[in-house]
Structure formats: structure tokens, C-alpha cells
């Protein structure tokens, strides 16, 4: 169809930026899904403004969506975009610094009005002055294009203008040689009830597509071949959604009804939104009056025999601390999801961080050990959530499942597992009332039996006061307290015997081991990968299990000259490693509410090697 040159690329990063009202998240998602359908590997990074919708046209109102697609393995949304699509001056101002010189800017000139320039804080029009020198600027009157295309339609101008994001999408589809069909189908589903909008958005998209094809402003298009991806069925999924699915899968495998006790909070709320959709699974979502009621209701559910979960973010986590301590003492299964955000206090709710790790370890009164797991990627949220359920039920313990705003909102292609392949999760139900003691432990797991109200003959009492070994009766006996304290700790540390050994990507010994956890996986993996390709002696260990740590981790750490621990905090895993193994590590910390760039990590690795 096109007569223009087509250039092959192995990867490209595009950032869509506009006003919160411009639908950039949607545009980015469409581009992402279509690219997935054509077989590219990819990763995305939606970047929201602060919660409240700021006045249109202002910097705080800018919302952006970055996606990297490739023929090669893609593990991050890309350090910096190759193409920046901006729907207004504020979007340009807020995002220009992310674009390297030589990068391409696609700008909707119709929005570069005096008024909008002023709102964005521009004294003069950057499209006219020299400030964009060194960039390749493609000026398009996207609004006009759209309005013209929709001229015939009997629709008010406002609604017409709203279609301009699809016009922009159409242009990108042509530039990167993507089919329009997937989006067409989506539009048809989405606006099934409003045929006029189906037509409008399709027309707008084609207008952009054709304009890109014909105009000289865009000299060539690009081709990104499908990536070498394991065959199978795929879908793209965001971290919070995957996490919710993992919990549902866990409840199915355990044969227990899922109970979510929660209170909305950014960036964890989507887990509530998602789970509230699946009542056919018997999922109960309890939106409590606050986080304390949320976790207490969950513990009540657990006491009653449910698969109990509570989800929150940092400040809510703080509020749950006392109740979590009760779950530790009463040894009830509970999954506590903390989708971390930038702190301290309210901090920057829409920005990502890894600074609740030590709170998870120590944020309770008394010696109060529990299990801690961390998700590494949007799709990994599914597996790790299921693992959290398994551990909670197998060991009768609360499990803190750490995610973060970056992977919670980010998404990636997910090779769908076969549910038949999931292992069932066993519950420890006591069988003989005459033998039953609430704290009589399983020798291997040290888990106590789980008798729930309604089981005849197993009536018993539990509570937050220290309890006697075996019976659990209230006891102030000094030696019993010491014994119980050590047993609680031993039970958690003993989990290490049941979890997989830590895997290392790269040489078994060498100059540098990069030790990471949580949402930084993609960037760290990519940086290490790059270093290895450059022949450097660098390995990568990414821990999913933080308490207990994998049983072989200590010996792994001893196989490298230096241990680099990159974290989006001020060195929390570093502290744990040092105090646990007495091994010195090199913390590499970033605390900006933003994920690591691969380059930042590459530099850190090189600095250590130097």
C-alpha cells in the first residue's frame, strides 16, 4: 500500500503524552496490544499525574504512556523514547527532557495556542523558536485532521475532537507498520451501544493512518519483526490484575473461598476493583471502613476458614501492623499485599518505590516474624500471589506480598499457563478431636492444625496473649514465652527448606553479583545481560523470597568479589543482607519515585568493575 521506504528496527520506544483528558493511556494500550498481536515482545510504563485531574493544559495534568516493542527480548519500557507524541504544549514541556537529541517529536500543532503555551509555562512557541533544534519534529494538525475526517458525522465538535487520540494512534500504526484491525475490533466492542462513536473513532484512526502514508513529513515507516517468543497463547496483563488472578487461582487450588478485606488506596485499589468482578468464583470483596477493619475482617475470615487477603499500600500497611501481629501470634493464614509507593507519610502516591521492605520485616511490636515475598514483573504477580497463598496455608502464617506502583500499573505479554498444571494446595485439618491441640505442630512445617468454627469437637480458644505450647492456653510462664518466641521464628526460617534454591543468571562466580528484588527485575536483568554480552564477569540473582531468604543465598554471595544491591530506596535489602550474613554489599540506591534506567545500572556495574 505504501510507496515509502521501510526501515527494519530490532526495537523502538514510543511515549504518548497529553492532557489527562486526551486518552493517552488508552492510545498507548491500543498500540501495545496491537504490537503484541503481531508478535513483538514489549513492556509498558504508564505515568499518571497526581491523583486529582489538574486543570486541562497544565503540566500537572499531563499523563503519559511509554511502550517499548522489539524483535529482541524486552524487559523494560525503555530508558528513553525514540518517538515522543505530544498532544499539547504541557505534554511537550513535561516530557522533552526524556527524549534524547535526534529523537522524533510528533506534535498536534492545533493545541499550541497562546493560552495553552501560557498554561504550560512557555513564553514563546517551542515549535517556532529554536528550542527544539536537534530533534526531528513532525508537526501535524491532528485536531483539524480529525474534524475533517468526521465532517459528515452528526456529532458535536467536542465529541469529534475527542477522537483525535485515535488519529494519532493511526499515524503511529502506519509509521510502525501495524495492522489497524485489532483496534477496529476493540472500538466495535467498546462502543457497541453507540454506533456513531464506532464510526467516528475508526474514521479518525484511518485519517491518521492515511495522512502518515501520504504526507512528506513522514519520509519512511519502520518494521519491527516478531520476537522469538515461546509459542502459546498470550495476553497482555497489568501487575495488579495478574495479582488478583493469582489470588483467585490460589483459592481454587486450595478449595477455599477468597475473602478480600481492603480499603481503597493508590496504587493498590485496582486489586479490589478487579476482584470485585469475580463473584462467580465466590470471591467476597469487603470494602471496610478503614485498613484496620480491613485486615481484622480478613483475619476473622481466616479464623472462619476462608482464604483471607488484605491489600493496601504503605500508609495503610502502617495501620495494619497491630492486627498483623495478632495473625502472627495466632498463626492464622493471611496474605497481606502491599503495593508500594513513594513515602514517607503520604509521600507521592502515584510514584513507585521499594521503601516498605524493612517495615514489612520489623514494623510490628515484639518479635513478630512472618514470611515476605516480592513480585518482580507484572506477569510474575500472578505466580508470586499463588505462591504466597500456598505458603500462608501450608505454614499457617501471614505472608506479606510486596509489589510496587511500577509493576502494578505496568503491563507485559503473559504466556497463559494451563490451569490444569497448577498444583493443589493442601490444608492441615485435624481429624481426631480427642488428640486435638490448637498448637500441636506438624514436625516438618511446624504449622499448627487448622480447626475452624463449625467442626464438632474441636472447640478451642485463641488470642493475642502468649499461649502455652500445645494447648495455646494463656501462659505467662517465662520459659514457655522463650520457647514460643523461638518456635515462631523457627517456623518462618524453616520455610527455606521448602522453597526453591536461588537461581543465578550468569557465571557461578566472578567479579560482581547484582542482587535485586521486586519491581527492578527488568532493568537489572537488562543491564546485567548487556554487561555479560560485553564479556564482563557479572551475574544476577533476583530474590523472590526475602523472609526467609533462599537457603543457598549465603554461599552464592560468597562466590563474587563484589555484591551490588540496587534498590529504589535507601538500602533496605542491603541492611538485611549485612545483618543476616555479615557480608558487605555495595548499595546502589535511587529514591526518585521512578524506576531504574538500564543505563544507570550499567554505570553502577561498570563503576564496581573499574
Amino acid at each position: 500500500m505504501t510507496t515509502k521506504a521501510r526501515v527494519e528496527l530490532d526495537r523502538v520506544t514510543i511515549r504518548f503524552a497529553g492532557d489527562s483528558g486526551d486518552g493517552m493511556q488508552l492510545t498507548g494500550t491500543q498500540f501495545t496490544n496491537t504490537s503484541a498481536v503481531v508478535g513483538n515482545d514489549l513492556a509498558t510504563f504508564p505515568d499518571f499525574p497526581a491523583e486529582i485531574r489538574a486543570p486541562a493544559g497544565t503540566i500537572p495534568g499531563v499523563s503519559s504512556f511509554q511502550v517499548q516493542i522489539g524483535e529482541i527480548d524486552i524487559h523494560t519500557p525503555g530508558d528513553e523514547p525514540d518517538v515522543l507524541v505530544v498532544m499539547n504544549p504541557a505534554a511537550l514541556k513535561a516530557n522533552l527532557h526524556t527524549l534524547p537529541k535526534g529523537g522524533t517529536i510528533v506534535a498536534d500543532i492545533s493545541s499550541f495556542t497562546k493560552n495553552n503555551l501560557k498554561k504550560a509555562g512557555y513564553d514563546s512557541n517551542p515549535l517556532e523558536d529554536e528550542s527544539l533544534a536537534g530533534f526531528h519534529v513532525i508537526e501535524v494538525d491532528i485536531t483539524k485532521l480529525t474534524l475533517n475526517a468526521l465532517e459528515e458525522l452528526d456529532l458535536d465538535n467536542k465529541s469529534k475532537t475527542r477522537c483525535k487520540n485515535f488519529c494519532a494512534l493511526g499515524m503511529m500504526y502506519w509509521m510502525y507498520n501495524r495492522p489497524v484491525e485489532p483496534s477496529n475490533e476493540w472500538i466495535e466492542r467498546k462502543f457497541a451501544r453507540k454506533p456513531i462513536l464506532v464510526e467516528a473513532n475508526k474514521l479518525a484512526m484511518m485519517a491518521g493512518y492515511n495522512y502518515a502514508n501520504t504526507t512528506d513529513l513522514i519520509p519512511r515507516s519502520f518494521e519491527i519483526k516478531p520476537a522469538e517468543i515461546a509459542p502459546g497463547t498470550y495476553r497482555s496483563i497489568a501487575g495488579n490484575q495478574a495479582l488478583a488472578y493469582g489470588l483467585i487461582a490460589g483459592s481454587k487450588m486450595a478449595g477455599l473461598p477468597l475473602f478480600l478485606g481492603t480499603y481503597p488506596i493508590t496504587p493498590a485499589s485496582d486489586i479490589l476493583h478487579e476482584l470485585s468482578k469475580y463473584k462467580e468464583f465466590g470471591v467476597i470483596t469487603f470494602q471496610a471502613e478503614d485498613e484496620i477493619a480491613a485486615v481484622c475482617a480478613a483475619i476473622g475470615s481466616s479464623y472462619g476458614g476462608g482464604l483471607a487477603v488484605t491489600s493496601t499500600s504503605g500508609p495503610g500497611m502502617a495501620l495494619k501492623a497491630e492486627a498483623i501481629g495478632l495473625a502472627v501470634k495466632t498463626e492464622l493464614p493471611l496474605v497481606i499485599v502491599n503495593v508500594q509507593r513513594a513515602g514517607p507519610s503520604t509521600g507521592m502516591p502515584t510514584k513507585t518505590e521499594q521503601s516498605d521492605l524493612l517495615q514489612s520485616m520489623y514494623g510490628r511490636n515484639g518479635e513478630s516474624p512472618l514470611c515476605i515475598l516480592a513480585c518482580s514483573r507484572p506477569t510474575d504477580c500472578f505466580d508470586t500471589a499463588m505462591e504466597a497463598v500456598r505458603i500462608a496455608l501450608t505454614f499457617m502464617t501471614p505472608v506479606i506480598l510486596l509489589s510496587d506502583g511500577y509493576i502494578a500499573n505496568g503491563s507485559g505479554p503473559w504466556q497463559l499457563p494451563d490451569p490444569e498444571s497448577f498444583a493443589p494446595i493442601q490444608i492441615q485439618r485435624p481429624t481426631d478431636p480427642s488428640e486435638f491441640k490448637p498448637y500441636q505442630r506438624n514436625e516438618d512445617t511446624l504449622a499448627r492444625p487448622w480447626a475452624i468454627p463449625g467442626m464438632p469437637g474441636f472447640e478451642h480458644r485463641i488470642g493475642g496473649l502468649e499461649g502455652q505450647q500445645g494447648t495455646g492456653n494463656v501462659s505467662y510462664d517465662p520459659l514457655n514465652h522463650e520457647k514460643m518466641s523461638h518456635t515462631r521464628e523457627a517456623k518462618i526460617q524453616g520455610i527455606a527448606n521448602f522453597i526453591p534454591e536461588q537461581e543465578v543468571f550468569g557465571p557461578e562466580s566472578g567479579d560482581v553479583l547484582v542482587l535485586s528484588w521486586g519491581g527492578t527485575y527488568g532493568s537489572v536483568f537488562s543491564a546485567v545481560n548487556k554487561a555479560q554480552k560485553e564479556g564482563k564477569s557479572v551475574a544476577h540473582a533476583h530474590v523472590r523470597y526475602i523472609n526467609p531468604l533462599p537457603r543457598n543465598l549465603e554461599s552464592i554471595l560468597k562466590n563474587y568479589k563484589r555484591i551490588l544491591v540496587p534498590e529504589l530506596n535507601m538500602g533496605q535489602l542491603s541492611r538485611i543482607i549485612q545483618s543476616t550474613y555479615g557480608i558487605e554489599v555495595e548499595p546502589f540506591n535511587k529514591i526518585q519515585g521512578q524506576p531504574f534506567k538500564i543505563r544507570e545500572l550499567t554505570d553502577a556495574i561498570d563503576a564496581l568493575l573499574a
Binding site: 509459542p231 502459546g232 469487603f286 471502613e289 478503614d290 477493619a293 476473622g300 483471607a308 475452624i452 488470642g463
Partner: protein, 341 residues
């Protein structure tokens, strides 16, 4: 259920020795509950007793049922989660005035708002007993306690008024000094669908002795207590000659016989009238007798039933959820085997 009809009080006594101060009103309440539960025709294993923290909250340890002594002020939330997950249970929540009206105030009003089907026994001794005697939100103003050596300047409020503010579907009041009457009230509470709040005026002999003396003092109790009876005029007094009359929007105490006042002039108690219950909460000693019995018992949507009804309705429509369907929903795409070189 044959095994349940044979249950006796003894079946509900645990092997733990009861540890309250000698003379504490809690003993009588424990007795009353142990005497009531066997009468309800519910199998023993279906009772769950959930408490917060306080002297009163030690209660579950003394009951040979399932029991959970949780943390301070949060019992309502634990009980809500328990009932939602295990709706077949008969859930009894035990709490004190500090536990439910101070630290637990928010859960108290939201429990009542949602109208979760359980029974809340509120032991109101107008003091923090377990921590050795600080005033509570129900303590009389001016009270001298460990934390108010010069007298409290904190305005108090009442459990009944607060419960009505949260639109309670069942509220009743009883006293530790009349266990028989307490048992009657407990039976009513158990029968009600929804959150049944039973305020029990309880005496803390050590830190707030005789806080309810005006109401419970044997010699004057008939003149100081109004025993509510549904559909009956509000009459009280040793000589059954005093009554409550509504005068415009105000209640007043009148004497039958005096200036032609007859029973016909008296306010007739109606548990189903939410407004009467409101006025009862405003009856303060010494002007008025202390109302005892069921203030209000009205039908209202029950949260746990609604939750399960919604789930069932959706299961009806969609059938039991399938993981396969769930995972493979949304936009999926196939990646074929052969490489794309």
C-alpha cells in the same frame, strides 16, 4: 439436631478458671450466657465468641465454644469477616465500653450500619477495668479516676444514642443484677436477624463500684427502672402507678390517677417504631427511670445475607467461575511454533 437439644449449661463451661475480681458483674453475665446458649437449639460447634481486649473480653476463655480473644477495639471487624466467610455460625461479640465506644467506636457504628447478623454484648461498666481504672466515654462527667484526679471534663455519650445514630436494627439494655431478665433479652437478641446490640449495665466493684447503683439498688429499683414491653403502655414504679407520657415532642413522667391521667394517656411501647427508640435513649436519670429491655427491633437488610445473595445470583447467571475462562479472557493472541527468521 438431637445432639443440641441435649446441651446443658455445663457444656459451655471451659476448663479455664474464671479470673475476674471477686464480686465483678461479669460473673453474672457469663452465667446468663452459659444458661442461654443451650436453649437456642444450635449445635455447640456453631457458636463463635469474638471479643476485643478488656476484663469483659476475657469472656471467650471461659466458654467451651470456638472463641477468639482479638485486639482492642476491633472485635466487630473480626466478627464481620468471620460471619461473611462462615455464615452458618452463631456469632457473639463480647466487648466493653472502652473497647466498643472508645477505640472501637468506628467499627461499632459500621457494624450496626451494615447490620451484620450477630449479637453484640456490650459490657458497660463506665470505666476501663483492665487497665486499672481510667474513665471511658460513658463515664459520668466529673468522675474522679486514675486519669482524672481533678474530675473528668469530657462530655460522655451513650451507647444507645450512638447506636440509633447508626440506625441500629436491634438495641436492648439489661443489667448484671437481674440475670433472669438478661437471659430473656439474650434470647430476643439471638432471635433477631441483623446486628443485635445488648448494652449490659455491669458493675466494676474495684474501679467504678455502684456506677449503676441508682438503677440497680434493690430498694429503689422499681421506681428507677422502666421495663419495656412491646405493645404495652410505659408503666413503672413500685406501685405500678407511674408512667411515661408524650407531650408534643417531649417525654414526661406522670402519675396514674393524678389529675385524671389514665393508662390511655401513656406512651405505648412499639419496638418497630424507630422514633420511640430514639426517645428512650434520651431518658436520663434522675428525671426519668432507666429503660430496660428491647428499645428497637426492626427489619432491615442484613449485610452478610445480601453479600451471599448477590454472589448466588451471579453464579446462577454465569455458573461457577472457571480459571480457564478467567485467564483466557480479554484480548489474547497466539504465538506459533516456527521461528520468524
Amino acid at each position: 439436631m438431637s445432639e443440641t437439644t441435649t446441651l446443658t449449661k455445663k457444656d459451655f463451661k471451659s476448663d479455664q478458671d474464671v479470673r475476674w475480681c471477686p464480686g465483678c458483674g461479669d460473673y453474672a453475665i457469663l452465667n446468663a450466657v452459659q444458661a442461654t446458649l443451650p436453649e437456642l437449639g444450635i449445635p455447640k460447634e456453631k457458636f463463635a465468641i469474638i471479643s476485643g481486649i478488656g476484663c469483659s473480653s476475657r469472656f471467650p476463655y471461659y466458654m467451651d465454644t470456638y472463641g477468639f480473644h482479638t485486639i482492642h477495639g476491633r472485635a466487630a471487624a473480626f466478627a464481620t469477616g468471620l460471619k461473611l466467610t462462615n455464615p452458618g455460625l452463631s456469632v457473639w461479640m463480647i466487648s466493653g465500653d472502652g473497647d466498643s465506644l472508645s477505640i472501637g467506636g468506628n467499627h461499632f457504628i459500621h457494624l450496626i450500619r451494615r447490620n451484620v447478623d450477630l449479637n453484640l454484648l456490650l459490657f458497660n461498666n463506665e470505666i476501663y477495668g483492665l487497665t486499672k481504672g481510667q474513665y471511658s466515654p460513658t463515664s459520668q462527667e466529673g468522675i474522679i479516676t486514675k486519669s482524672t484526679p481533678y474530675g473528668s471534663v469530657d462530655r460522655n455519650f451513650s451507647a444507645s444514642s450512638l447506636a440509633m445514630g447508626a440506625e441500629s436494627s436491634f438495641f436492648a439494655r439489661a443489667i448484671d443484677t437481674d440475670p433472669k431478665y438478661l437471659q430473656e433479652v439474650l434470647v430476643r437478641a439471638a432471635a433477631h436477624k441483623g446486628t443485635s446490640v445488648v448494652e449490659i449495665l455491669q458493675n466494676c466493684v474495684i474501679f467504678n463500684d455502684k456506677a449503676h447503683g441508682w438503677t440497680t439498688e434493690r430498694s429503689t429499683q422499681d421506681d428507677h427502672q422502666l421495663r419495656l414491653e412491646h405493645g404495652k403502655p410505659m408503666i413503672f414504679g413500685a406501685d405500678k402507678n407511674k408512667g411515661i407520657r408524650l407531650n408534643g415532642l417531649k417525654l414526661e413522667v406522670v402519675t396514674l390517677g393524678e389529675d385524671g391521667i389514665t393508662e390511655a394517656d401513656l406512651l405505648v411501647h412499639d419496638e418497630t417504631d424507630e422514633n420511640i427508640a430514639y426517645f428512650l435513649t434520651k431518658m436520663q436519670a434522675p428525671e426519668f427511670p432507666t429503660p430496660l429491655g428491647v428499645f428497637r427491633a426492626v427489619e432491615a437488610p442484613v449485610y452478610n445475607e445480601q453479600v451471599h445473595a448477590q454472589i448466588e445470583a451471579i453464579r446462577e447467571k454465569k455458573g461457577e467461575g472457571s480459571l480457564q475462562k478467567l485467564l483466557f479472557s480479554g484480548d489474547t493472541w497466539e504465538v506459533k511454533g516456527e521461528s520468524n527468521a
